[in-house]
Subunit: 132 residues, 2 copies
DNA sequence: CCGATTGTATTACTGTGTTAATACAATTTC
DNA sequence: GAAATTGTATTAACACAGTAATACAATCGG
């Protein structure tokens, strides 16, 4: 499990773990049904308290990314991939709302915003067609 | 000064004041050079501590929306509303870059993002009353 | 069954953000 | 210059999030 947490990030440890596991699942590096490391082992690896990992796993379970069984372990949920799209939207909508609010305050219309984004996106490397 | 704060919102009082004054300025209901209510008066009106209003004013000053002078008052900054288009773009580009970065990590294409924003923007058409 | 392994619950410590109580400093007004 | 009005600084109270220490409960493996 290639997970790496950092203090400087400002985002809490458990959140970093959540995000990175989500990414591992979404990118296929963690297959459906696969077992994640036990809370104690990952905790030891990352030098944090087992409860911190447990919280991350709990969060992931609440979002349907994984399923956990006492005594057995935590496993990637079978519907990890399809759910992730709604999850993506949810995450993005938070950012989008903030952006739209800012636009409203600046008096920038949605059309102008969309053009700005299109412009800006060209400076990012190929968006790799992401549909799905 | 028609400002209204609520406890249930979850967002801190000073932040609500900041947002609403920003909106009043952006919408022209507060003209350039106009003086805002003294911290104590607005505090009394909203039934909060004067320091809470002071913090909101300080925040607004840091963002260039207002300028404050000890003993005189707090006044809407001359360049509060009419930020240059390039300036607006600069501010928005920061948010946009963060958003695009997030999309890249989530594997969401720009097209999907644009559609999400269009969807989301329709819920911003009714700024009054809309709360769930 | 029994011990080992696993996730879960309870509790407490710590840091940070929000707000308030109070005192201070600058400007206005007379 | 003095009093009133204004913004500012300091400090504390309080709540909450994040994390850790510890004990508990369920499952697995012999």
């Amino acid at each position: 499990m290639q997970i790496h947490i950092t203090e400087a990030d400002g985002t809490p440890f458990y959140q970093q773990v959540v995000n990175q596991i989500k990414f591992l699942v979404a990118s296929g590096r963690l297959d459906e049904g696969e077992q994640l490391p036990p809370v104690r082992r990952l905790a030891e690896q990352l030098l944090v308290n087992p409860n911190t990992i447990a919280r991350a796993y709990r969060e992931l379970e609440a979002e349907g990314v994984v399923a956990s069984k006492r005594g057995a372990g935590v496993f990637v949920s079978d519907s990890g991939s399809p759910l992730s799209r709604k999850e993506k939207s949810r995450i993005l909508n938070e950012r989008i709302d903030a952006l739209l609010t800012e636009c409203s305050q600046l008096g920038v219309g949605v059309d102008s915003l969309l053009k700005l984004i299109e412009q800006r996106s060209k400076k990012f490397d190929s968006p790799r067609g992401g549909k799905s």
